[in-house]
Point group: C2
Chain length 335, copies 2
Amino acid sequence: MAQEAGVSIATVSRALNGSGYVSKEARERVMAAARALDYHMNVNARSLTSGKTYTIALVLPDVTNPFFPAVARGVEDYASDNGYCVMLCNTDGNSRKESDYLTMLRSRKVDGVIFAVSVPSKSRINTLLDDGIAVVLVDRDLGDSYDIVKTDNIAGAMLATNHLVGLGHTRIAFISGPAQLATSQERFRGYRDALMSKGIPFDDRLVVEGDFRMESGHEAMYQLMTRFDCRDRNGFTAVFAANDLMAVGAVTVLEESGLRVPADVAVMGYDDINIASVMRPRLSTIAQPKYEMGWIAAETIIKRMSEPKESRMEEILQPMLVVRDSTVERRGALA
Amino acid sequence: MAQEAGVSIATVSRALNGSGYVSKEARERVMAAARALDYHMNVNARSLTSGKTYTIALVLPDVTNPFFPAVARGVEDYASDNGYCVMLCNTDGNSRKESDYLTMLRSRKVDGVIFAVSVPSKSRINTLLDDGIAVVLVDRDLGDSYDIVKTDNIAGAMLATNHLVGLGHTRIAFISGPAQLATSQERFRGYRDALMSKGIPFDDRLVVEGDFRMESGHEAMYQLMTRFDCRDRNGFTAVFAANDLMAVGAVTVLEESGLRVPADVAVMGYDDINIASVMRPRLSTIAQPKYEMGWIAAETIIKRMSEPKESRMEEILQPMLVVRDSTVERRGALA
DNA sequence: TGTATATATGTAAGCGCATACACATAAGCG
DNA sequence: CGCTTATGTGTATGCGCTTACATATATACA
């Protein structure tokens, strides 16, 4: 390549990178040679000296959970527009996998990791940071120590609960996410606070813990139904699930039991995944700007890389209430 | 690190890789030092000399299409079990993005790319191969030149069509995928051949081309409905969409028009994405082993890397008919 | 005309690792 | 005991690139 252009490798490097002084003539000869040889720089070799790999990792529980593909898409779009590649890492919410991935990413010297934590562990994250790897959390918070992009879960859960209360429900069950996640705690808090503020007594027998997967929505619903007789208006008349997947599971069980949604029991989800609008009854839910979360997370991490000392960046997006058929009877019209 | 262990860097390298001769004592000292310093090998640096990056790329149209996350998951699971990382690349079926990504991947020296092609271009793939990058196609075929993992689309489409014919339908519309994709062509062929074999005349006015996205299902359905009066049993009484997303779009339009599925028009999809089983009516479809496709693709590409000269590998999985409510009236039971 | 400054290019070192090669020691065998 | 072979370790080179440094020419200005 240097030969082909008749210059030294240093000049080639400068020409290709536009760094330092290079005469117009030399630059042109280099470019011509590059084209002629179909030359492409070895990014890995460069990263050996530059320290930058232009790679970020996206570590999440499971891409198969419909919430994440949109986030991933957002990340990738912003990243690739800025010359970064993104590695996909599924942890299954498994502590072991999570930590294995993190050490793998360290030894690959990724520039940053966008992290939807399953196992809240500050020390793990600090290890990355100490290695000079930027970290930004998405969706799942971890105290106020790290950069994060999330939605306001308390507000979202209040939106949902208030919607239900506004419909006249006072006995509202809550299917929570994994208790150790801040996301779950916040949504629970929103649910509880909304209830309190309306003067509705909080009953902890109405709360069941799930794990965000559809099957756990089934189980939670069964649990709830053994605790209460659903025909009894003093049991519960509405269910608020901390995510759509669990809501889908709940609806399934309800219908199998001959209960009508929303006539007998109203159901609210959270996330607004694609399923929500095509299932029947169409699911009322709290929409999160998933794609934007991913996009902004990527933007944030890239910003962070150039400003390692900058103070904590926190981006809290607003969720939105989407009312469909699982909470209010469709009046008029067909179907 | 070498200092810490009191040996030369060569010995360190040999100890860590288990290559060449290393005394038990030296090995132990190296391991101890590694642990003490929390040392992790720089994989990039190693790849400079070894030529292997232990990275594979997954290039697909859009992770947001529910068909792909499962495939991605399969790829990642196999890959990570074997020490590989996977980069995610969305092309949006856009020729430019696709080719940009491929050159990016070349300059990053990925070991292989698992490719769900949107723009059938052999020369692009050959460029990768010439660079020593392994390639295996998933889902989308491209003649018989490259390694591939797919399902038998002709058989799948025949399964679907025969199911519809068995139900008494003779006027079956077909919403096709993008015409340039082999996948689309194969499914179309299965549809057509099944019809012929039953002695049912093929009518090309019953065929509309979509692009695999939900919106195109809408459009295709509108098109079909302007071509024929749906009340007319000589128009069409069933629709077979080349994927579930378009089927969902079609169902939506049908219902908006006051037509009942399956009473007035039966609908079949293809893929069996998560939505299919929770939408109402639950969608009859052809299930593809998505996760397995990804898994096997990863297995194949890793095998290919060690046996570059081996003859073409072709893995054709079998699709499966899943009958739900969009084709047959649910008898008895509730909901 | 002499000196400072901008422009241009090459040489060499080093990023973190693998490995060929030289060398040293131990073990096996006639 | 001398020779071959197996074992163990260090030195040095190079992977493809960036960059500090040295050097050289052109331009500017006093």
